[in-house]
Point group: C2
Chain length 208, copies 2
């Protein structure tokens, strides 16, 4: 069984326990095995199906209740089976969703780390920088390089802190591990989306 999470930037496959990514403009190969996917990008879904006519979109199998209008399937999937926690999927955007007693209370969308890094030099070339994870967030910066990284991290960390209070925070996504380290009450689950996809596929195969 091959799983695929189609996001805004990449096809993210799980093939025999191994991760493989293709950018959306890259060619996707035909696979020998069964392919199950979720997608927030219809054009990209069609491209996958063209090479893999039997690929199954499991969007419809997911029965996630929320008052949120237009919640992306990847967010709904990440929140599934959760009780009380905040779920942070840190990719090209950073989605933050709040679950309380199994109910989805809403969420918000921060710019992703890479988008922040690309945006500063667009204001001025002087604001170009290389990201260092070891910046001191307890001290007001005293040079431009730190002033940007401090601001960028605070712009991401503080809104998550404010909404999480005493809740546990589950991080996933490409920058999830790096970000999780700024939070005490956090867990990093690299395969959260794929694990939940598998739970849904298994549940439906049992019924069938």
């Amino acid at each position: 069984m091959i799983l695929c999470d189609i996001g805004n930037t990449t096809y993210h496959f799980l093939i025999k326990g191994k991760h493989k990514k293709y950018f959306l403009d890259e060619k996707v190969p035909p696979f020998d095995d069964e392919v199950y996917f979720v997608s927030v990008n219809e054009k990209a879904s069609k491209k996958l199906i063209k090479k893999n006519p039997h690929a199954k979109n499991i969007n419809k199998l997911l029965n996630f209740q929320t008052s949120y209008l237009g919640l992306g399937i990847d967010r709904a999937l990440a929140c599934s089976f959760q009780d009380n926690c905040v779920i942070v999927d840190a990719g090209s955007a950073i989605t933050v969703d709040v679950m309380e007693e199994g109910n989805h209370k809403g969420g918000f969308i921060l710019l992703g780390l890479r988008r922040f890094m690309k945006s500063y030099p667009k204001i001025s070339k002087k604001l170009k920088f290389e990201f260092e994870k070891e910046i001191n967030l307890d001290k007001i910066p005293l040079r431009t390089k730190d002033a940007i990284q401090y601001a960028m991290l605070k712009s991401i960390i503080l809104p998550i802190k404010e909404v999480s209070l005493n809740k546990n925070i589950i991080f996933t996504g490409g920058d999830g591990l790096a970000l999780s380290k700024y939070f005490e009450n956090s867990t990093y689950k690299k395969d959260l989306i794929f694990e939940n996809m598998k739970r849904i596929i298994d549940a439906n195969n049992c019924i069938a």
Copy 2:
């Protein structure tokens, strides 16, 4: 006397009490009156001087002490003559500087509102939005449009709140008024930079 603040995006003039802006790639006219300017952009300074050979760069007249390496002249100017407060200059970037007992303690650089707004649609076309100031920041959003605006405002507001504690916050810059409304302990000073330029020019004319 004509004053000019050359930033990363515009020439910002104060001419007989009136504000006039030119983008950096626009033509700057020759003026009849004396021109004093500060600048964070050398190329733009040269262009102004070409049309106004007697324009005076007052960067050197400013004697602002700080341990911050590479503090922009506009930030030093905005912080001048301040005792205990946080100074926020909300333009294409949002600079935040902390003054304590007349000493500059450091600062940081957030993305400007417009840069945030331009950055979201670059992640996905679905994240394009029009900014509404009346968003409820006390409730977790329940639709994508709110989810972006809430996140964007929290990304700007919370780092400023964290660093300001009980200090007064002085806002200036194009988005200063809009942002100041999210803070109780805030003042908006549209002409902070020009007022401080004038104080420095007056002080030096007295000495001369």
